[in-house]
């Protein structure tokens, strides 16, 4: 009897050992937590003839236990959290029978009578409990039963830790994969953006990359140029905002990342309607240049720190590229402007007499030096139908294109009036009226013109507010200033006729007409060149030809200013010959 009993015992132990080994192999190879736990329950229930069992996993942070898997125990709920209220020192035992003082909370009326709790532990840590119900055949657990269960618990706990580690590793690996993908996206787009100058295309690629990478549907991008805010692109549920709404959200959402709350939704109806959940500012070189709004993720997973970081990096790339397109446009505009100006310069130069015509009995030189591409200085020499010659010099207030337009206007009037038989005085009256009518009240022209009647060597002139030309008689060291005429052109309608004055020119007499670019040129100490310097320069050079005198003056002014001209300057020099 004894021998037979031992034999049975032995074969029983062998069976148990085999089960333990097989189970351990299977469990150790498994990376699936669920599979490990399910197996533990099924093997034990089958082997020990138990109808109910449950596994609780310890959460060390919350100090609770999560019911991960159960068979039977209708009153307990998978996934629910429980706490164990056990007698002292019990958690150090490998297993113990649940006594009347031991409680699982919330209790829910689960019958724990004759149940055992097995400590699921590895050498260092406690991982949870296995709750094992009583045997179906109403006998109590044998020592072998308990030992077998304990061994299986040890193996399963090791497998459980393994599988959890594996899950963690898989998650880490997946996160890493995501980061790599994000980097690839950034790399891809930076290449692509570099090639693009089309703002709409950049915005659209940015939009798609963001929708794809963040798994969102709703998005908008507001971009700031100067003090203007523009909605560059949007997608999904975004309701088209008014300009006022765009401005106000851009100014208000001045945080790096602003999670949209009820307060903001109430203030910005369209943000609420558009289902925007976060607003992200893009700052480049300390200036907020763009605002991005995103809706929630389609799978409802909230955005993480790293999602925002990705978004910001991508947004930076896109916004810099968008900025680039604006800069490029500005440059193209500027180049076009420069090209137009150089054409204007050529046209303006064409309006001046070139070459300077030869007038019998007069040694003549004239030139204008513009400080800009185009300017408001003007001189002219033209032959009238009666055989006389017209000399003119003028200076339009202001500079650049507006001055040049007015100068061209004056030039055409002068040439239209040239063949008309009227006096110089009458012609000036008319020009003044037209200029006054056609130009804004702050635009004037100082104008001096003269008609040279070569037969009588008479110079008949009208000075309309221009710097008085300097006449240096051949036998004098004193200058005569030609001031007679009237008001500068364009100031008011002619109410007093312009006065014309005749002077006799004798051989050797020298007349220098100039614009204020000469006398008002400043040196580095902000002193003006002035008429005194001009006069002494003329006296120094009086014996020379008109061209040499003119160049002498220009050189003198250049030296004085250190070769810096802030205004146009024009000279018309004539010397009566024998």
């Amino acid at each position: 009897m004894i021998a037979m009993g031992e034999e049975k015992n032995q074969s029983h132990s062998t069976f148990e050992l085999k089960t333990v080994i097989e189970t351990s192999r299977m469990l150790v190879e498994s990376r699936d937590t669920d599979f490990v736990l399910n197996n533990l329950l099924l093997i034990l229930m089958g082997r020990l003839l138990v109808t109910k069992a449950a596994i609780f996993i310890h959460d060390p942070v919350e100090e609770t236990y999560t019911l991960r898997k159960k068979k039977g125990f209708d009153k307990l709920e998978e996934g629910a959290h429980y706490t164990f209220d056990l007698g002292p020192e019990k958690n150090k035992e490998p297993y113990f029978e649940v006594g009347s003082a031991d409680k699982i909370k919330p209790e829910n009326g689960a019958d724990l009578q004759n149940c055992f709790l097995f400590n699921l532990r590895t050498s260092n840590n406690h991982h949870g409990y296995l709750l094992l119900g009583p045997k179906a055949i109403r006998t109590s657990f044998s020592r072998e039963d308990l030992g077998f269960t304990e061994s299986l618990c040890i193996i399963s706990t090791a497998a459980l830790v393994n599988s959890q580690l594996f899950t963690e590793l898989t998650n880490t690996y997946r996160n890493l994969d995501r980061r790599i993908h994000e980097l690839n996206t950034l790399f891809d787009l930076s290449k692509e953006f570099n090639l693009l100058v089309d703002r709409e295309k950049i915005s659209s690629i940015f939009k798609f990359a963001l929708l794809g990478q963040l798994f969102i549907r709703t998005f908008f991008l507001i971009y700031k140029t100067g003090s203007k805010y523009t909605l560059l692109t949007s997608s999904g549920a975004v309701v088209k905002p008014t300009q006022k709404q765009i401005n106000s959200i851009f100014l208000e959402a001045d945080e790096d990342i602003l999670v949209v709350d009820e307060n903001l939704k109430n203030q910005h109806e369209w943000i609420k309607k558009s289902n925007i959940t976060a607003l992200i500012s893009v700052t480049i070189q300390n200036e907020r240049v763009a605002l991005i709004g995103v809706g929630e993720r389609v799978n409802k997973v909230p955005f993480s720190e790293s999602d925002y970081n990705f978004l910001k990096s991508l947004a930076n790339l896109a916004v810099i590229s968008i900025q680039k397109t604006f800069f490029l446009e500005e440059r193209i505009d500027k180049e076009r402007m420069e090209e137009e100006l150089s054409i204007a310069k050529a046209i303006q130069e064409g309006l001046l007499p070139d070459p300077i015509p030869e007038i019998p009995g007069i040694d003549l030189a004239a030139k204008t030096v513009s400080s800009r591409e185009v300017g408001g200085d003007y001189f002219d020499i033209a032959e009238a139908p009666d055989g006389s010659t017209i000399f003119a010099i003028a200076d339009v207030t202001g500079k650049g294109v507006p001055a040049a337009l007015l100068m061209a206007n004056l030039q055409s009037m002068l040439h239209v009036l040239l063949p008309v038989e009227i006096t110089l005085s009458e012609a000036t009256d008319r020009i003044n009226n037209i200029i006054h009518k056609n130009t804004p009240s702050d635009k004037f022209i100082t104008f001096f013109w003269a008609k040279y009647l070569s037969e009588h060597k008479i110079l008949r002139y009208v000075n309309a507010g221009h710097n008085p030309p300097l006449l240096l008689r051949v036998d004098s060291d004193e200058f005569v200033e030609l001031t007679d005429g009237g008001l500068l052109l364009g100031a008011m309608e002619t109410f007093m006729p312009y006065v014309q004055t005749d002077i006799q020119l004798n051989p050797g007499d020298l007349l220098v007409c100039y614009t204020d670019g000469i006398d008002e040129t400043m040196n580095k100490s902000f002193e003006e060149y002035g008429t005194e310097r001009l006069k002494s320069c003329i006296l120094e050079n009086r014996a020379k030809s008109s061209a040499e005198i003119m160049d002498g003056i220009v050189d003198s002014v250049k030296r004085f200013s250190g070769n810096v001209f802030s205004d146009d300057l024009t000279l018309l020099v004539l010397k009566a010959c024998d």
Partner: protein, 117 residues
């Protein structure tokens, strides 16, 4: 590396888009064009076949995000099929299987359309 290409065919009343090569930031707008055209023609039972697609970037995925709702609003769907592992991995990584039906084979996608209607 194959150049990106989109081909369009019709099979039993289903609009099938075949993608070739690499769908990235550069080529995404072409796919956008195709989807837009189908939607404006009210053709909404769309299957995108990825058999010949070697690579997909986020911008490519974004196009699907941008138009799925439009297609579903007019009573259709965009179903995806025949992805290689690399392409599927990207879709999976970004969570797309929760929003899109993705099939091993185009025929399964057609079957799903038929059983849904």
């Amino acid at each position: 590396m194959k150049t990106f290409k989109i081909e369009h065919r019709n099979s039993d009343g289903f609009e099938i888009i075949d993608l070739y090569g690499e769908l990235d930031a550069h080529t995404a707008s072409q796919l956008e064009e195709s989807l837009k055209n189908l939607i404006s023609d009210q053709k909404s039972n769309i299957i995108v076949n990825f058999r010949e697609l070697d690579y997909i970037a986020s911008a490519g995925l974004g196009v699907f995000m941008a138009y799925i709702e439009d297609v579903r609003t007019i009573g259709g769907d965009i179903k995806l099929s025949n992805m290689n592992d690399k392409v599927y991995n990207v879709f999976d990584l970004l969570g797309f299987p929760t929003l899109y039906d993705i099939f091993d084979d185009e025929k399964q996608a057609i079957k799903k359309f038929l059983s849904d209607s």
